[in-house]
């Protein structure tokens, strides 16, 4: 099963490598990992997407909790939650037909064209990973010049919050 694990950790050099090292040392897989400081500058928040059996996920959570730098952990996929990923796609948009088609697709997916040149567009999209995949599959494959994705971030719905 796919799990989204949110971590609050000490905003210290090396904290990220402890998490990454734990996953490689114990053979757990990381589908994606995002990390950034929070409004409390002493804390970073990490969102980690992983897959594994219930036993493996339980071990992952325990092993993460064991790291001294981890302050709090929540498996947000255990409850109702919102998941978002940001993607930017650079596409070839050299003729009127291509430009029109890509603009229309971007609109359908609630995307925004961030950059326009005479030959290219950069389209920004946010959504679940599935939605981003769907967009990439829908547009003309040969027009894709470059994609960049942030990896998933997420937050629990309702009153539950992950804070110190």
């Amino acid at each position: 099963m796919r799990h989204i694990i949110s971590l609050l950790m000490e905003n210290e050099a090396g904290a990220l490598s402890r998490v990454a090292g734990l996953f490689s040392a114990r053979g757990y897989n990381i589908e994606s990992l995002t990390v950034a400081p929070t409004e409390d500058s002493s804390l970073s928040r990490m969102t980690l997407v992983t897959r594994g059996s219930d036993n493996v996920i339980e071990q992952i959570k325990k092993q993460l909790n064991k790291l001294i730098d981890i302050v709090k952990l929540a498996d947000i996929s255990e409850g109702v939650h919102i998941e978002r990923e940001l993607m930017m796609v650079k596409v070839q948009a050299a003729n009127a037909e291509q430009r029109e088609e890509l603009k229309r697709m971007a609109d359908i997916f609630n995307g925004t064209v961030l950059d326009v040149t005479d030959k290219t567009y950069v389209i920004e999209l946010t959504g679940s990973g599935d939605k981003l995949d769907a967009f990439l599959q829908t547009i003309d494959q040969s027009s894709i010049l470059e994609t960049v994705r942030s990896g998933a971030t997420g937050i629990a719905r309702g009153g539950k919050s992950l804070r110190v």
Partner: protein
């Protein structure tokens, strides 16, 4: 008081009550070494290799329960220390290892003797720190000792760049009494609901079994644990790391379990209906094939580390907490329950165990004309009255010692269980003897293992430590040879040791006493004579049977009930 970083470190160690620092100097550590020179309270023990220094600190820690402290220089000093650190990590031994680092401005420039010590040690420490500001030095050290010694203990590395220890940069110092760590709060007390459930299950058992490990020793719970087991009257087995946690001479003790455990311990594991696992971690050498592990048992697991629970084996009643505390709570709950186990069922169970015991699974050929390693350990046990501190290296001699030296007290059996580090025994014995100057300290080793840290004979000479080294010399890496005999059709690939040194002369060249023993009838006399030499290190080179194997044995993929036993003619 205003001090430079090097003096802060040394003053802190004094304030922390550290008696010994085991180390080896080098460029990046020189400010610290100068601070050590200018005081007398903290004694520095100069090893001959950083691995030896860390193992010695480890031996000190295992035998006392206090944290061991090691100090090494940057680069090779740190990398040499890694084996020692990993050894301590696998066995949850509290150590604080200070690694000096190149000066801060040089970090990342591939400077002379620079290595990313924090990065290299990260997977084998409980935690590590890089000190970036001398103002953080004392508080970091305080945290390091706290982390190393609380919860599930383990080694903590503190990496200190040379400029941080500069005597010219003086700042105010006081011992940091107060500090907080919001992200580290180990659980000590077990959950009361779980304790009640455990007691209910314990009382319902018809074929109970207690399996305990190093946690009992680490939490200084042997007394409470022993009383608890005696009150219940259940059979008790110990892991390699748990030996001494329950007295081996107690009739309730069924021996060590696992790959080279006793037949009765392993059969009882297989057939039990309730398993009480205390401070043990279901290591692969203990469980055998997990699919065949304790097929009939409900399992209670007490451990301070939540990650140990249900890691390898699914647990029915987990209790996270300090063993000493939990065992006391279990005892109290048991008293309150005012109920006993089914006495008839328990009697039947003991009868069954008695039958298994009757197979005498540790028997060996006592009539041999060659020295049997088991015989040496048996005689060692007799000659030392069972009351020595015994360190070991890794291999057959380690298993023979675990099987034949009956440890009645905790912290007497000092060996590298988890990592299986050859070379551990001699330096560890140095740490043990320093902590217990008047005690008898024996190091049981093999001619292969001892050569991995043989240089520490020099340390022992410098310190006048009267260690007794029992080298079971079979001219093979015995355990490797055994596996090659069993599983590789006796193709002894690189397990034979040719060109061995003359250990007697070697010991003598270091200023010690060396003896070679070649006949079984000389074993006891040689041991007696050696142990009577209270002021000398005696290296006893026992020339043993080359073909001897460790039995019984659970081969890979087998369960506890599928042991291979010795066939005697």
């Amino acid at each position: 008081m205003k001090l430079g970083g090097g003096d802060i470190l040394v003053q802190f160690l004094q304030d922390e009550g550290v008696e010994f620092v085991f180390g080896y100097p080098g460029g990046a550590a020189l400010h610290i070494y100068d601070a050590i020179f200018r005081q007398e309270k903290v004694k520095h023990i100069l090893a001959r290799h950083e691995q030896g220094a860390v193992h010695a600190a480890d031996g000190f820690a295992r035998s006392t329960g206090k944290p061991g402290v090691a100090l090494v220089t940057s680069g090779p000093g740190a990398t040499n220390a890694v084996t020692g650190i990993a050894t301590a990590y696998m066995d949850s031994i509290p150590l604080v290892v200070v690694t000096a680092q190149v000066a801060s401005p040089l970090i990342g420039s591939d400077a002379f003797q620079e290595v990313d010590s924090v990065g290299i040690t990260r997977p084998c420490v409980k935690h590590n720190f890089l000190v970036k500001d001398v103002k953080d030095l004392a508080s970091t050290l305080r945290k390091a000792f706290y982390i190393a010694t609380t919860g599930r203990p383990g080694p903590v590395v503190v990496d200190i760049p040379k400029d941080i220890t500069d005597p010219a940069v003086k700042i105010p110092y006081s011992y940091p009494e107060d500090f907080s760590m919001r992200s580290y709060q180990p659980t000590v007390k077990g959950h009361p609901g779980q304790i009640s459930k455990a007691v209910e299950l314990i009382l319902s058992a018809k074929r109970p079994m207690v399996y305990s490990g190093g946690g009992v020793v680490l939490s200084n719970a042997a007394t409470e644990f022993t009383a608890f087991c005696r009150r219940l009257g259940f059979p008790v087995t110990n892991t390699l790391m748990g030996l001494g946690g329950f007295p081996a001479t107690d009739p309730q003790f069924v021996g060590m379990l696992g790959m080279h455990g006793t037949y009765e311990a392993n059969m009882a594991m297989h057939d039990c209906d309730v398993l009480l696992a205390i401070g043990a971690r279901f290591d692969d050498r203990v469980t055998g094939d997990l699919k065949k592990f304790c097929p009939h048992a409900k399992i209670i697991h007490v451990d301070i580390d939540p990650a140990s629970i249900s890691k390898n084996v699914r647990i029915d009643v987990p209790i996270v907490g300090d063993i000493k505390q939990v065992v006391s709570d279990l005892t109290r709950e048991l008293d309150a329950a005012n109920k006993e186990n089914d006495a008839t069922a328990l009697k039947k169970w003991w009868n069954q165990i008695g039958q298994w015991r009757g197979r005498d699974c540790l028997q060996y050929d006592r009539g041999s004309e060659l020295i049997k390693p088991q015989y040496v350990v048996e005689k060692l046990y007799e000659v030392t009255g069972g009351d020595a501190f015994v360190t070991s290296d890794v291999g057959q001699h380690q298993m023979f010692t675990a099987q034949f030296y009956k440890f009645d007290k905790p912290r007497r059996w000092i060996n590298s269980g988890g990592l299986g580090t050859m070379g551990f025994g001699l330096p560890a014995a140095i740490g043990v003897q320093l902590a217990h100057r008047d005690a008898t300290v024996a190091c049981v080793t093999g001619e292969a293992s001892i050569q991995m840290c043989i240089q520490e004979l020099s340390t022992a000479r410098q310190l006048d430590l009267p260690l007794k080294i029992i080298c079971l010399n079979n001219r093979y890496m015995g355990m490797v040879r055994q596996w090659q005999e069993f599983f590789y059709e006796s193709r002894y690939s690189h397990s034979y040791l040719d060109a061995l040194p003359d250990f007697v002369k070697l010991a003598e060249s270091y200023g010690h006493v060396g003896v070679r023993i070649e006949k079984p009838e000389d074993v006891e006399g040689a041991l007696k004579e050696a142990f009577a030499m209270k002021d000398s290190l005696v290296f006893m080179d026992f020339v043993t049977d080359q073909t001897e194997n460790v039995y019984p044995m659970i081969a890979a993929g087998k369960g506890h009930h599928e042991m291979q036993e010795r066939e005697l003619a």
